[in-house]
Symmetry: C2
Subunit: 366 residues, 2 copies
C-alpha cells in the first residue's frame, strides 16, 4: 500500500535538514521497496510570507488526509512583532488541535558516543533514556476564556484558562501506560495538585485508570516543581513521565537539554485510532528552527532523520526499517562524524549534507 506523507519543512533550518531526510526516503524506496506518496507545503513564517497566514486550510486538510505528517519546525524572528494572530507557531498549534494530536512523545536519550556533550556529569546522564508523554491539545494552551482586556481605569489584564476533563486526562495517560509496558514499566504522573484543582483531578483520574486497567505498571506521582529538580538531580530515576501541556512544554525541553544534544532528538505526536484503524500522527525534531544558523549548511539533520524513523515505527509498524535508520545514525556517530552542535575533540566536523550522505552510506552497509 502506498504510504501518504505530508512534508512540512517550515522555517529556519527546517528545509535544509528535510532535504537530508529525502535521501533516506529515497533509500527506503530503492532498497526496501516501500512506496511513498509525498506532498510538501509551507507552514509558519514561510507560509506567512507567501500566503499571509501561518497555515492554510488546504494544508490542514492535506494533513488529515495523509497517513503521517513529517514536520520541520516553525518560528522566525522576522514575524516576532506581527501580532498574536500571525505567529508562525500557530501552524503547529493548529495542526495539533485540528488533527487532535493529543499525545506528544518526547524521548530524552543520551547516545553513548555523545555522553560528553551534556553539561551534566557523565555519571549522571550516561545511558539516560526517558520518555516524556505530554498532553498537547488541552490545558492552558487552548482553554477559554482567554485574551487581554482593558479595564475601566485603562489598565489591562491578561487571562488564560487551564481546563482538563476526565476524558482528556485518561486518553493521554493510556498512551503513557501502554508505552511503559514496552519499556521500564514505570510511569510518573506530574502536576501541581497542591495548588491547582486541575492538577488534583489529573492525579485522581490517573490513579483510577491505573487501578482499573494498568495495575501491573508501577505508578508514582510528583509535583511539577519537584520534577524539574529531580530531572537535574537524578534523571535516570524516570522511565515514562506523563504530564499536561504546559508542564510538558518546560519539562520535556529541560529533559532533552540534559542530553546535551538537542540536534539528535525526534518526537512523535499522536491522535486517537479511528474506526477504520487510522491514527493521525505528526513527527518533528525537538529542536526549533534555529534561525541563527539557517541556510549555512551546518545544521544537524539527525533529529529530523530520526523523526522519520519514529514515523516508520509508529505510523506504519515498520520496526525493522526504523531500527535500520537508528543503527545507521549510531554507526555514523561511532565513525566520528559530527555536526558543529555536537563537536568534541578527536571527532571530525561535517556539514548538513555530508552528515545526511553518511547516514545513507551506512544504510547501504546494513
Amino acid at each position: 500500500a502506498t504510504k501518504k506523507l505530508l512534508v512540512l519543512p517550515g522555517d529556519g533550518i527546517g528545509p535544509e535538514i528535510m532535504r537530508e531526510v529525502a535521501r533516506v526516503v529515497t533509500w527506503m524506496e530503492r532498497a526496501r521497496g516501500v512506496v511513498f506518496d509525498i506532498s510538501e507545503d509551507l507552514v509558519g513564517g514561510a507560509s506567512l510570507a507567501v500566503h499571509g497566514v501561518p497555515i492554510r486550510d488546504e494544508v490542514i486538510a492535506a494533513a488529515k488526509a495523509a497517513d503521517a505528517v513529517l514536520f520541520g519546525s516553525v518560528g522566525d524572528p522576522r514575524w516576532a512583532s506581527a501580532g498574536f494572530d500571525r505567529r508562525p507557531e500557530i501552524a503547529i498549534l493548529k495542526l495539533r488541535q485540528e488533527l487532535e494530536l493529543f499525545a506528544n512523545l518526547r524521548p530524552a536519550k543520551v547516545f553513548d558516543a555523545l555522553v560528553d556533550a551534556s553539561t551534566l556529569k557523565p555519571e549522571i546522564v550516561a545511558g539516560l533514556d526517558i520518555m516524556i508523554v505530554r498532553e498537547t491539545v488541552g490545558g492552558i494552551y487552548f482553554g477559554e476564556p482567554r485574551g487581554i482586556e482593558t479595564l475601566p481605569d485603562g489598565s489591562r489584564r491578561g487571562i488564560n484558562t487551564e481546563i482538563y476533563t476526565t476524558a482528556e486526562i485518561e486518553r493521554v495517560a493510556r498512551v503513557a501506560f501502554d508505552l511503559a509496558r514496552q519499556r521500564g514499566n514505570r510511569v510518573c504522573s506530574v502536576e501541581k495538585c497542591n495548588v491547582m484543582e486541575s492538577g488534583l483531578l489529573w492525579k485522581e483520574v490517573v490513579t483510577d485508570l491505573h487501578a482499573r486497567d494498568y495495575p501491573d505498571v508501577e505508578l508514582s506521582h510528583m509535583l511539577a516543581d519537584n520534577c524539574a529538580m529531580q530531572l537535574v538531580r537524578n534523571p535516570r530515576q524516570f522511565d515514562v513521565i506523563v504530564t499536561g501541556n504546559l508542564f510538558g512544554d518546560l519539562l520535556s525541553d529541560l529533559a532533552s537539554m540534559l542530553t546535551g544534544s538537542l540536534g539528535m532528538l525526534p518526537s512523535a505526536t499522536l491522535g486517537a485510532v479511528d474506526a477504520s484503524g487510522r491514527r493521525p500522527a505528526l513527527y518533528e525534531p525537538i529542536h526549533g528552527s534555529a534561525p541563527d544558523i539557517a541556510g549555512k549548511g551546518i545544521a544537524n539533520p539527525l533529529a529530523q532523520i530520526l523523526s522519520f524513523s519514529m514515523l516508520l515505527r509508529y505510523s506504519f509498524g515498520m520496526e525493522a526499517e526504523a531500527v535500520l535508520i537508528e543503527t545507521a545514525v549510531a554507526n555514523v556517530l561511532a565513525s566520528g562524524l559530527r555536526t558543529a552542535d555536537i563537536m568534541s575533540p578527536g571527532t571530525a566536523q561535517v556539514g548538513t549534507a555530508v552528515m545526511g550522505e553518511a547516514v545513507v552510506r551506512e544504510l547501504d552497509k546494513l
Copy 2:
C-alpha cells in the same frame, strides 16, 4: 528600636533547623546589641494536628504586625489525603496572599567550597549567581474561576485561571530591575507569549516599564521552555530572571538544583512598602520540610540561617550583620564541616546542632 519577628518553624525539619537560627539570633543580641522581640507559632501540618487548620487567623494577624516573618517549611505526608482545604501548603499560600508578599527573591548561588556538589560539570556552574524574582500572589495560583465540576454525563473537569494585571506585572518587574542595578544590571523576563495572552501582556508591560523607568538596565525576553533549557545549557548567562508564579515555581527550583546544595539556599518574599515605610516580608529556605530526615538531627541548618541573614539585610538594612553571617557560613564550609546532604570526600560530616554551633563559633572570631 525593638525588632519584631514572627518565627514559624512548620513541619518536618523546620523546628530543628530553626533551633540553630536561635543561636545566631542570641549571638546578634549579645555581640551586636540588637534587640529582637520574638514570638513563635504553628503552621502547616503542625497546626492542622493541634488546631485543625493549616494556619489560624491569629497567626496571619501576628505576621502582619511583625516586622518580618522567619518561616521554616510546610508539607507533611500524613496530611497528603486530608483534602484540598486541609493541605499544609495553604499556610504559606495564605501568608503570601494576606500579606501581599508579591515578590519572591530566590538566589541560586554556587558556593566555591561546594562546586562539586552539583550534578552539572564544575566548569558550567562555578561562580554561578542568579537571582530569580518570582511573582507570588497572582497568576494561576489564585485566579478565579477554579475548582472541579461534574458534567451532566458524570465526567468531571478541573479548571484554573491565570490572570495578570498591568499593576501586578509592573510591581514585581520593578523589584527585578531595582535588584539588577545592585548586581549585574541585567534582567531576563520569562513567559510563554507565543501561546498565552497573559504572557503577551507580561512582556508588553515589562518592555514599557523598562523604557520608561529603567533604560539603563539591560532587558531581554525568553520563553519559559527555552529558559528551562538555557538554565541547563549555560546558567551563567543569567543575572536576574523575572517571571510569573507558576513558571517561577518550576524555574527557581530548577535553578537551585543546579547548585547541588539546596540545603544552602535561602529566599525572601517581599510586599510593598506602605505609607509608614514598613514592608511586609517573609524569609524561608528553598528546601522543603524533608519529612524523611526529620527528627534525626542531620538536616542542614545553613539555608535557614542564611534566610535570617537575608532578613537582616532586606527588612532591617543591617548589611554589616548580614555579611557577618554569610562570612561565618563560608568559613565553616572552608574549615571542612559538612552536613550529610553536602558531604564530599575529605570533609567531616556533622549533624544539625554541631553545624549551628560552628557558625556561632565563627561569628565569635569575626
